[in-house]
């Protein structure tokens, strides 16, 4: 699984593709606030990123992969 949905957290791993965006959007609509764990994520399709942005998700753990981290840092703030 590249996305693991928990109570108030969503954990991303490896490469999150464009097809996951719809499910992610549906899941986020029912919850708030949510934190995201990108630690094991290497790349995420921007369709998912804009869903996370629109939902006001906060980042719990930043990705290790530098390009993704730097892109995410430009739009997300860290969680509490």
């Amino acid at each position: 699984m590249t996305i693991e949905y928990r109570d108030t957290e969503v954990v991303f791993a490896e490469i999150v593709g464009v097809e996951d965006a719809e499910v992610l959007l549906a899941w986020l609509q029912e919850r708030s606030p949510v934190q995201a764990d990108f630690s094991a994520c290497t790349h995420m399709h921007p369709a998912n990123i804009q869903v996370l942005m629109a939902a006001g998700v906060q980042v719990a753990v930043w990705p290790v992969a530098a390009p993704l981290e730097c892109a995410l840092r430009s739009v997300f703030s860290a969680g509490s």
Partner: protein
């Protein structure tokens, strides 16, 4: 080139021609839905095919064209002349791209920019908000040419980049890497097309940093469309612009690229606590810099940084100072400004000249885009580049003075704008010299010397690939066009009908049979099962058959030897029998291959609708073009050699033949003139008539002009008929600009036209009636691969004379030869025919030989409109030969049109009567 690509190119060219043709038809019937649908389909197919290859530029333009046609088809956009113009332009551009692909040339940045411009121009016609699109066009064009004034504040954007990345970028720039800021705004639909813009951004060559930003405020989650891209991407890279442009070559219209001056990265960030307590440091540091004590300064900075918390604005500034000091030649001006900024905690404006920071208390200038200066430099570079290109154009144009003046005006403007007024007088002096000497070279040299940096970075755009006119290659001297077909510059495949030679047909009456076959087996009458063959393959087959004909011709000699030398009559007879069979087969083969080489004149004609449309629109004339007999076929070489002369004639007719609509109406003619180009076959010749109902040629004016120019004497002027006078336009030298202005201008290059036609053994007749129009009739042989010659003997040597020049052969008694003014002549059926000895013409000392009845053998040949008797020693048989042009040093001998190998292995020299006499 792989076969798929070759096939694509060949089909693309066909499709482009088809598109051009259909557009012309649409112009006459703009409401024809069927035609519109056909046009859409062709564009659609071409676009689809281009998608098979990696030609984003071509696909982009075609895609836009397809969308436009789709809109027209659905009645959203009305067909208009502008629309046709744009589509034709776009298709020309696609043609250029095809040429480039064929020549294996990579697409230049200019071509890519042009593709974007073309696509935008086409889309502008679809969008109701054409103005916005037009703006986008200029904007996109500007991006590519590197002169864009960015639509976003670079300083703000750079401030988003973490300090550590900026420092890394600065270090790379210090080591010579170019820094670029890429703003990538993907289209909203890009996710549907399978794009991943973040991946694209992160994969940018020389990647340092990617930032994202939302295009608009996010809607409520319930209304969010996850698959509509709402993100913009900013990328900082250390790479060459070309590499980055190549990376984004599929989406050049979605990318803005600007250069990042390294100093602009120096943005101290952090908590500005502290304030005036640092005044001492600032004072000391400035003093150290003034005394060039950079070691001391570095110590001071290092100490200060240890005392400060790393999150402070001051620490950030100090870190930048440390970094600046790592350069081999630290930028003291920048250091001074950075130090001064500590007093105010305002980031220095790096676009301001360094001198401004000498006043330490007030370093900050009014807020201004940091790349302001950079934009100026780019603008200057662009202006200089353009002038350099302008000056590099050939000097032979009539508008050279205007060009020089324009360049000088631009350059002096640049000099003034950049505070270099002092150089203006020198420039003007140079301009005067350039004007006097009619050459732009001194100015170009001055430009290189005055703007060396711009020269260093100037990227000279690759010249667009000019479309190769296939026909030009064949309008070579007569000797070129013969049995051995010169390889065409572009592999223009001919459509070859699958011809099954009729082996069972009778060998008798070869000429009749040949005519039968010619009439009966046109490619267009063959089954639609046609195949495309490379011309080279046909040429090879042609050459092989030529060799076979020569080999075959050796058999009668063999039979003769068998009988006379070896005395075996029986064998001789059998060889002769076998010869008849082989002869028949070879003739069939020859004919079959000739059929393959036949192509319809429509190949040449199809360019005229566009040509006539363009020229008449430009001249403001109204001309209807009528094309007839497009299916008339002739040998490929003949058809191709027709191209240039016909274009010349049509241009002349449009330019000088037709009157302006109001003049026509005043003369009682319809406002729109009619230009008719008709082709038909007459016996073994193809006849093309170009008729216009323009103002015709004034024969009296021509006579007068010819007399004034000394081309004819007074007696001739009075004697010659109007028709003969009109033909004076063919005299070389008659076509001068003076003539164009005074007369209808038919004289322009008509001698060239005639020469080109005569080189393929054709002739041209011009008839004109003043006020009513002009008719030009071209007559050309259907084929020219096999030449029928008459062989004659002179001084024990054999010569060939093409049969189409031969009028008759006569025996003239010695007594009938008279001498008129030291020239020999004789009377033939009431006409005086001048006689020339072939020996004398060829420089042979031997006198002509008479036969037993003391008669000369006289071969009457046609030279132009005159007949001339050539006195030879004896006549021999006629022969079909494969005429080979003379090559090497012999090619300069214009008295011979070529040579041929005879059956007995001897070489027959074929005379060129036009040149010889």
């Amino acid at each position: 080139m792989n076969e798929l690509l070759a096939q694509f190119l060949s089909e693309a060219r066909d499709a482009l021609e088809g598109i051009g043709g259909k557009l012309m038809e649409l112009e006459r019937a703009p409401d024809d839905e069927e035609l519109m649908t056909q046009l859409f389909r062709v564009v659609h197919t071409l676009k689809g095919n281009s998608g098979l290859f990696d030609f984003p530029e071509m696909s982009r333009v075609l895609h836009a064209g397809e969308d436009l046609m789709d809109a027209v088809r659905h009645g959203e956009v009305r067909y208009s002349q502008t629309l046709a113009d744009r589509l034709l332009d776009a298709m020309d551009f696609v043609g250029l791209l095809c040429d480039g692909i064929e020549a294996d040339k990579p697409v230049s940045a200019d071509m890519a920019a042009e593709a974007v411009r073309q696509a935008k121009a086409l889309r502008a016609l679809i969008s109701p908000d054409a103005e916005t699109s037009a703006q986008a066009v200029s904007e996109a064009g500007a991006v590519q040419s590197g002169s864009v004034a960015p639509t976003f504040p670079l300083a703000e954007q750079l401030a988003r980049v973490p300090e550590v990345v900026r420092m890394q970028a600065w270090a790379q720039a210090r080591d010579g890497a170019p820094l670029l800021w890429v703003r990538y705004v993907p289209s909203e639909e890009c996710f549907y097309q399978g794009d991943d813009p973040l991946h694209q951004a992160n994969q940018t060559p020389g990647w340092l940093w990617t930032g994202m930003s939302a295009r608009a405020a996010w809607p409520a989650l319930a209304e969010l469309d996850a698959y509509r891209c709402m993100l913009d991407f900013d990328v900082l890279v250390a790479a060459d612009r070309g590499e980055v442009e190549a990376h984004y070559r599929y989406v050049p219209d979605q990318v803005h690229i600007v250069e990042v001056p390294a100093l602009c990265l120096l943005i101290p960030q952090g908590d500005s606590n502290g304030g005036p307590v640092y005044e001492d440091f600032v004072e000391d540091a400035l003093a150290l810099i003034d005394h060039q004590d950079l070691t001391g300064f570095k110590r001071a900075v290092d100490t200060m940084i240890q005392l400060s918390s790393s999150s402070l604005w001051l620490s950030s500034a100090l870190r930048w100072m440390q970094l600046l000091l790592t350069a081999a030649q630290p930028d003291t001006a920048a250091l001074r400004r950075l130090v001064s900024a500590v007093n105010t905690f305002e980031n220095p404006d790096w676009t301001e000249p360094a001198a401004a920071s000498v006043a330490p208390a007030k370093p900050a200038a009014p807020a201004q885009s940091p790349i302001h200066n950079n934009v100026h430099a780019m603008a200057l570079k662009n202006v200089i580049d353009v002038q350099r290109e302008v000056l590099a154009l050939p000097d032979d144009a009539a508008w050279l003075p205007g060009r020089i003046k324009a360049a000088v005006a631009s350059l002096s403007g640049c000099l003034k704008a950049f505070g270099r007024q002092s150089e203006v007088p020198a420039l003007e002096a140079l301009a005067a010299t350039a004007l006097a000497t009619q050459t732009a070279a001194p100015l170009a040299a001055w430009l290189d010397q005055a703007f060396p940096e711009e020269a260093a970075v100037a990227d000279v755009p690759a010249a667009p690939v000019a479309p190769v006119a296939v026909a030009t290659a064949t309008v070579a001297p007569a000797v070129k066009v013969s049995a051995t077909v010169p390889a065409a510059p572009a592999p223009a495949p001919v459509v070859a009908a699958v011809v099954a030679p009729a082996m069972e047909s009778e060998p008798a009456e070869p000429e009749l049979q040949e005519a039968d076959v010619r009439v009966g087996r046109r490619p267009e009458e063959a089954s639609p099962k046609s195949l495309k063959v490379d011309q080279v393959k046909i040429d090879r087959l042609m050459n092989l058959i030529g060799e076979m004909v020569v080999a075959k011709n050796a058999m009668p000699y063999l039979a003769n030897r068998a009988e006379t030398v070896f005395g075996v009559r029986e064998l001789a007879r059998e060889i002769k029998g076998q010869y008849a069979t082989i002869n028949r087969i070879s003739e069939e083969m020859q004919d079959a291959i000739m059929q393959i080489r036949m192509m319809p004149v429509s190949f040449v004609f199809q360019r005229f609708p566009r040509l006539v449309r363009d020229i008449s629109r430009r001249l403001g004339k109204q001309v209807n073009l009528e094309l007839e007999g497009q299916e008339t076929a002739a040998d490929k070489n003949i058809i191709e050699s027709l191209g240039d002369p016909l274009v010349h004639i049509v241009r002349n007719s449009l330019d000088h033949g037709f009157e302006m609509p109001e003049v026509r109406t005043a003369a009682g003619k319809p406002a729109a003139g009619t230009l008719r180009i008709a082709a038909r076959q007459e016996a073994d010749r193809v006849v093309i008539e170009i008729t216009d109902d323009g103002k015709g040629i004034d024969a009296q004016a021509i006579k007068l002009k010819a007399y004034q120019k000394g081309l004819i004497d007074e007696a001739t002027m009075d004697r010659i008929s109007d028709q003969e006078a009109v033909n004076l336009v063919f005299i070389p030298g008659f076509s001068t600009s003076e003539v164009i202005s005074d007369l209808s201008g038919r004289g322009v290059g008509m001698d060239v036209v005639r020469t080109a036609i005569e080189q393929v053994h054709g002739n041209i007749v011009l008839e004109s009636t003043k006020g009513q129009g002009t008719r030009i009739r071209l007559s050309l042989p259907l084929s020219m691969a096999v030449t029928n010659v008459m062989t004659v003997e002179s001084n024990q040597q054999m010569f060939g004379i093409p049969m189409d020049a031969v009028v008759e052969t006569v025996r003239v008694p010695r007594a009938s030869v008279r001498t008129i003014k030291q020239r020999k002549a004789t009377l033939l059926r009431g006409r005086v025919v001048p006689l020339r000895d072939l020996n004398a013409v060829l420089g042979l000392a031997a006198p002509p030989v008479t036969n037993d009845s003391d008669e000369y053998a006289v071969l009457v040949v046609r030279v132009g409109d005159e007949s001339l008797g050539l006195v030879v020693d004896d006549f021999h048989e006629t022969a079909d030969i494969i005429l080979k042009p003379l090559s090497g040093v012999l090619s300069g001998l214009r008295a011979y049109s070529g040579s041929a190998l005879m059956g007995d292995g001897s070489v027959l020299m074929v005379l060129n009567t036009k040149e010889m006499l």
